[in-house]
Symmetry: C2
DNA sequence: TCGTTGACTGCAACCGGTTGCATTCGCGGC
DNA sequence: GCCGCGAATGCAACCGGTTGCAGTCAACGA
């Protein structure tokens, strides 16, 4: 009601100077004060329901115990697990995550970045996966601890945590080739995004290894409508049609599935289809979608851990941590019928 | 690199006192300074790349321009749209949301609440929908602006924004009754949660209106596994089996669907099934799930607006804002076969 | 006995802004 | 020509902690 008790209040009631109270209340310095005094101060604090004012502390220490997390879009099912992973590692260490959605828009991204800078975040986790060079450069110039998720930068400046896109796509193509497919198309993600680029490259290498001619259609965004459009292009143009389609992610695969049906074809009877990311509930689709499971939660926890290392004073080594992915076979892939 | 320039730096270079710089830089008080002086100060500020230190400002003004958002679990597809709605309203007003996941755990919830209090948030949006009475009471006692989403408290203390659960469930039951169903079971959400309670009550009223005997199995959580277990209970115990099942939300419906199949039955041929919330991709299920669309994004925007009202000094009127829902018919409901 | 040491505590500056009040100054009115 | 007034700016306290330094005091060794 009135106001929250301050440290001075506690000190006064305990009959000590506020400096002593400060030391007693801070576990790192409580060894400096007489145990009996400390006990008394703690008792008063508890009785008053005292909680320290983080703002004041931050002003003096210039550490806010906050980190900025930039992601494209929380409603994309890929990101919530990452965010939870981050939070679950940071919270026990006293950090709070400030999550901002960029919608893959450079302006929004810059606005959020500046806001977060103004809030004196101690570090950044950038999971936007887009050409974040200006931001990354800016973070680097200011010496702000930063970790990247999914996409690195060309002269590497900060640690990167990523799923093994190459291994995932290779496993998918191998699987399809083993089933007997010889015409395998790829619905690529936007090449402006790191994952789009990496997966396309992996696809090209993998089909080449099997002596299969490449066939790539790029989508405008990682979304179902974009997948629908791209798939329609394939269906309209290709002759003969591919017997299998490797989508760059699950949403694109969903859109492709709709297009396949709209074209009077069936999956997997006419065309096998694979996704990427293994987002929730793919099991329940008809047919259940074969996909590549990316350990999203672990991407979050590992990136948070790397960030903590840096904020604890470790150097910003631009190492890359690649987490293994796993091919999840389901009903959307089958041997070619013709 | 070195350090960020402070307001004193700006003032020194502009040849004024930092108080003048402060007034010039703050749009609300810039009228107090000579336009020419102000221009000069702004020029210096821009040249230096000055950005105000939010922490220092907050300490003095005791407003942090942050709000705490408590939700159960970000990976539940219900919440990301709500959070985005909140952010999209708050960000243009300069506010940043601190999102915390409680996992429906009282201890975690309290821990996050205290942390956020320590961070001096200016307000709370509580979307936990659980018995948050202690937190709500605490917020009320301290006079902190608060808005509830989904669940109110018994002596109403704060505004509440909610979807129209009653109308949604009623529409579902009406629809099933119209199709000719006379044995309609309900897989209820946990009664400890407001939505579970409200939807069960709505179900009971609705079936009574149709002269249909009620049949309720409560689930332990709003999850697919819990839905699976509950549905199995229904399948094992009920004789004759229900011809339609109203699940309290989509996840429960998904679990129920698995149980129905595991029992050798088919949906909707043997049993019609409905969900609630209309989470993404229900369209793609087999069969596509009939559900009730809740305007989640709008729940977020409206709650944020109500919170802004309070933080702008408005009274904390405990009004309830009920947003309309819409029944979305899909393939999982059909007339009973027998 | 006295100086030394170490444990404990107090003092006061400091972090970077904001803001009530005082001061200065120019100008118009009487 | 003097007074009063308002605009513009400076001064300094303040927000609530943290921390280097200094002071106090008792125990200990020589």
């Amino acid at each position: 009601m009135d106001k929250r008790p301050t440290m001075s209040d506690v000190a006064r009631l305990a009959g000590v100077h506020k400096a002593t109270a400060s030391r007693a209340l801070n576990p790192a310095t409580s060894g400096q004060v007489n145990p009996a005094t400390a006990r008394r101060i703690l008792a008063v604090a508890k009785q008053l329901g005292y909680t320290p004012n983080t703002t004041a502390r931050s002003l003096r220490t210039s550490r806010t115990l906050t980190v900025g997390v930039l992601i494209p879009d929380l409603t994309n099912p890929l990101f919530p697990p990452i965010v939870r992973g981050i939070e679950n590692v940071l919270f026990p260490r006293g950090y709070t995550a400030l999550v901002a959605n960029t919608d893959n828009d450079a302006e929004r991204e810059a606005a959020h970045f500046d806001t977060l800078l103004g809030r004196q975040v101690d570090g950044f986790i950038l999971a936007t996966g887009r050409r974040t060079h200006p931001l990354v450069q800016s973070a680097h110039d200011r010496g702000i601890a930063t970790v990247l998720v999914n996409r690195g930068t060309d002269p590497p400046m900060f640690p990167l945590v990523t799923g093994d896109d190459t291994a995932g796509i290779t496993a998918v193509v191998d699987h399809l080739a083993e089933l007997g497919h010889r015409r395998i198309a790829h619905l690529a993600g936007p090449v402006t995004l790191s994952t789009g680029h990496a997966r396309t490259k992996a696809y090209l290498n993998a089909v080449a290894a099997h002596g299969i001619p490449p066939s790539v259609v790029e989508t405008s965004t990682y979304s179902a409508p974009a997948g629908f459009d791209a798939m329609r292009k394939v269906l309209d143009a290709a002759d003969p049609l591919p017997t299998a389609v490797v989508a760059a992610n699950d949403l694109i695969a969903l859109g492709a599935l709709r297009a396949i049906r709209a074209h009077g074809l069936s999956c997997p009877d006419d065309i096998s289809l694979t996704g990427f990311n293994d987002m929730p509930f793919l099991d329940e689709l008809s047919p259940p979608l074969t996909s590549v499971r990316v350990p999203q939660y672990e991407l979050g926890t590992e990136s948070a851990r790397l960030l903590l290392e840096q904020m604890d004073g470790g150097p910003a080594v631009a190492k890359t941590l690649t987490l293994p992915v796993r091919l999840v076979l389901r009903g959307s892939t089958a041997p070619p019928s013709r």
